[in-house]
């Protein structure tokens, strides 16, 4: 009951936030625009149109044009979902730790690890509901328009939600340490950008300084933090290869970033719970 209370409260808070309401309205607008605007030339099923204008004419060999469209939509969606998500949940821990609020929550017969865990679950569920709703809407529009019911696109909403869950653990840890919504939001964005840099470190960050210790530090950061960028890239691969998102990357799906991220998120959660337990408020 207590855990359910925290989960339900946080879920409600997540879906009522202005940021996520904006995202929800934007999502609905995109679904509506797709419903009204997307189509294909009757004589040529490989030629998609948007309000009558041809799009996606240069389809790579062996790629289905609808699958390409879905992969494109998935990669764009996951980017914006993360952006809105960071804005939406960055304040979740700092706000309950404010003076006058912390006393109310911490004086209740619930342990701090439960409060942290079920608040993270609630925040993730709130964002996941938005993600699944939007992706299901796009999936239904594409299915109705082209008769292609691409279940992997729908399932990718779970991969994006999972990736976001790992990010939430990190944002909550930052929230416990910083206790400031603005700083946590900045941290979230910086981490998001940094995770792209870490994923492609062999072609970027490693070249900045030819030093073994520096390279080891980057490797450690990559494995000790959720591999956000790698998870999102793989979600796009899962839908229909990432030829549009990143043609230089291998096109095969790799599940390991999800496994490593689960391990790092678990470690970060345990450290956060220990820190939370030790702190006075």
């Amino acid at each position: 009951m207590k855990r359910w209370g925290i989960f339900r409260f946080t879920f409600g808070e997540a879906i009522r936030r202005g940021t996520l309401l904006t995202y929800f309205l934007l999502g609905n607008a995109i679904i509506l625009v797709l419903l009204l605007g997307i189509g294909h030339v009757p004589q040529n099923p490989d030629q998609l149109t948007f309000f009558g204008n041809p799009i996606l004419t240069k389809v790579p060999k062996d790629f289905d044009v609808v699958q390409m469209l879905l992969a494109f939509l998935e990669s764009q969606s996951s980017f914006w979902i993360m952006m809105f998500g960071v804005f939406g949940v960055a304040g979740f821990m700092p706000e309950i730790l404010e003076k006058g609020s912390a006393e109310l929550f911490l004086s209740k017969p619930i342990t701090r690890w439960e409060l942290l865990l079920f608040r993270a679950f609630g925040a993730t569920a709130g964002i996941a509901a938005n993600i699944v709703y939007f992706m299901a809407g796009v999936w239904a529009v594409v299915g109705l328009k082209f008769g292609v019911w691409h279940w992997k696109f729908l399932a990718s909403s779970l991969l994006i939600s999972y990736s976001f869950a790992c990010l939430v653990v990190l944002l909550f840890a930052a929230g416990l340490l910083m206790r400031n919504t603005g700083l946590v939001t900045m941290f979230g964005f910086i981490f998001y950008v940094f995770s792209w840099g870490l994923e492609s470190r062999t072609r970027g960050l490693n070249l900045l300084w030819d030093n073994a210790v520096y390279h080891r530090i980057l490797d450690a950061l990559y494995y000790l933090t959720p591999q956000l960028s790698a998870m999102l890239t793989n979600a796009t691969r899962f839908v229909g290869h990432s030829a549009i998102a990143n043609p230089m990357e291998p096109q095969t799906m790799n599940w390991m970033p999800y496994v490593y991220s689960l391990a790092s998120a678990t470690l970060i959660y345990l450290l956060s719970a220990w820190y939370f337990y030790r702190r006075d408020y």
Binding site: M1, I6, K108, P109, I110, D280
Partner: protein
């Protein structure tokens, strides 16, 4: 077993980059609170009152010592299951309305779903918020929030209630209602631990008081104990008193003065009052009445705090 037991509790806050700055917020605090009483903790700002309550509710960890609520160590979740808390300057999630707030905190208290709504409605009625229960709490006034806070603290039918400035921001009528409610809760056997700056209110309803200053308990006792310490008596006489008799009385007591047929004497000990009465009676005075001149709690509090280095 007492509902609240505190043994040698100390709290030192450490701060700074090298963690060398130390602030002793509480030093070796020990006392118990009897069941079914109202106990008030008084002290100037920064005395450590809120820190002590936070330790009892496990919001802050003590540096030394131990405290128990209903016989259970205060760090245990079980200790909080039957205690209620109204913090000072409490902040509620402002996207909820009054009813939703109580339902949410009821869930956190582990109340069964079947009774949540009824209990929340009953308490909203008790604190006079029935009319505004569907209004978002961001629109509530300070007094309304205070009433909501009190309802929140009572959700789990606690047998120990911690209230930090419960009448802060409440109008005089509301204050009386809250005082009456606390007295009623006491009559139901609940133990109430009150932190308040409003000494006149504390004086009206408290059974025992502890005065805390600079992290140390400087006095505990009942209200009569704290306010009767001065040993000053007023004696109504039915005639004038001679200068010679006044001299004899002054030699018997610490201070003596006469004004409008009322003799005011300050005593070293209670037994001196008998000597003064004997002197007056043997000199043929008829005594109309004797009153003990009491200090108010505020005067007593100011004297005690003023004596502290």
């Amino acid at each position: 077993m007492h509902p609240i037991e505190i043994e040698g509790v100390s709290k030192t806050y450490v701060s700074g980059f090298w963690r060398r700055a130390r602030l002793e917020a509480l030093v070796d605090i020990s006392f118990q609170v009897e069941a079914g009483t109202i106990f008030s903790l008084l002290g100037p700002n920064g005395a450590g009152k809120t820190t002590l309550v936070k330790i009892l509710l496990s919001v802050v960890r003590p540096s030394a010592g131990a405290a128990r609520i209903n016989g259970v160590p205060c760090s245990s979740v079980d200790a909080r299951a039957k205690s209620g808390y109204l913090p000072e300057n409490h902040r509620y999630p402002n996207f909820l309305n009054g009813l939703e707030t109580l339902i949410f905190f009821g869930r956190l208290n582990g109340l069964p779903a079947s009774m949540l709504r009824d209990r929340a409605n009953q308490l909203l009625g008790l604190v006079g918020l029935d009319e505004w229960k569907k209004m978002k709490i961001r629109k509530y006034s300070k007094g309304m929030l205070q009433r909501l806070g009190l309802a929140q603290a009572l959700l789990n039918e606690p047998n120990v209630l911690f209230l930090d400035e419960p009448t802060d921001g409440v109008d005089p009528v509301g204050r009386k209602e809250i005082r009456d409610l606390l007295v009623n809760l006491k009559s139901q056997g609940k133990t109430i631990f009150l932190n308040s700056h409003l000494l006149s209110e504390v004086e009206r309803i408290s059974d025992r008081v502890a005065i805390l200053n600079k992290g140390r308990i400087i006095r505990t006792g009942s209200i009569p104990d704290l306010t009767a310490g001065a040993l000053i008596y007023e004696i109504d006489l039915e005639g004038g008193i001679s200068a010679e008799l006044m001299d004899r009385i002054r030699r018997t007591v610490e201070t003596a003065m006469i004004s409008n047929k009322t003799l005011t004497v300050g005593l070293h000990a209670r037994s001196e009052l008998d000597s003064v009465v004997d002197l007056l009676r043997t000199n043929g005075f008829s005594i109309g009445g004797i009153r003990e001149q009491k200090l108010s709690l505020e005067e007593s509090f100011m004297q005690l705090i003023g004596k502290q280095p």
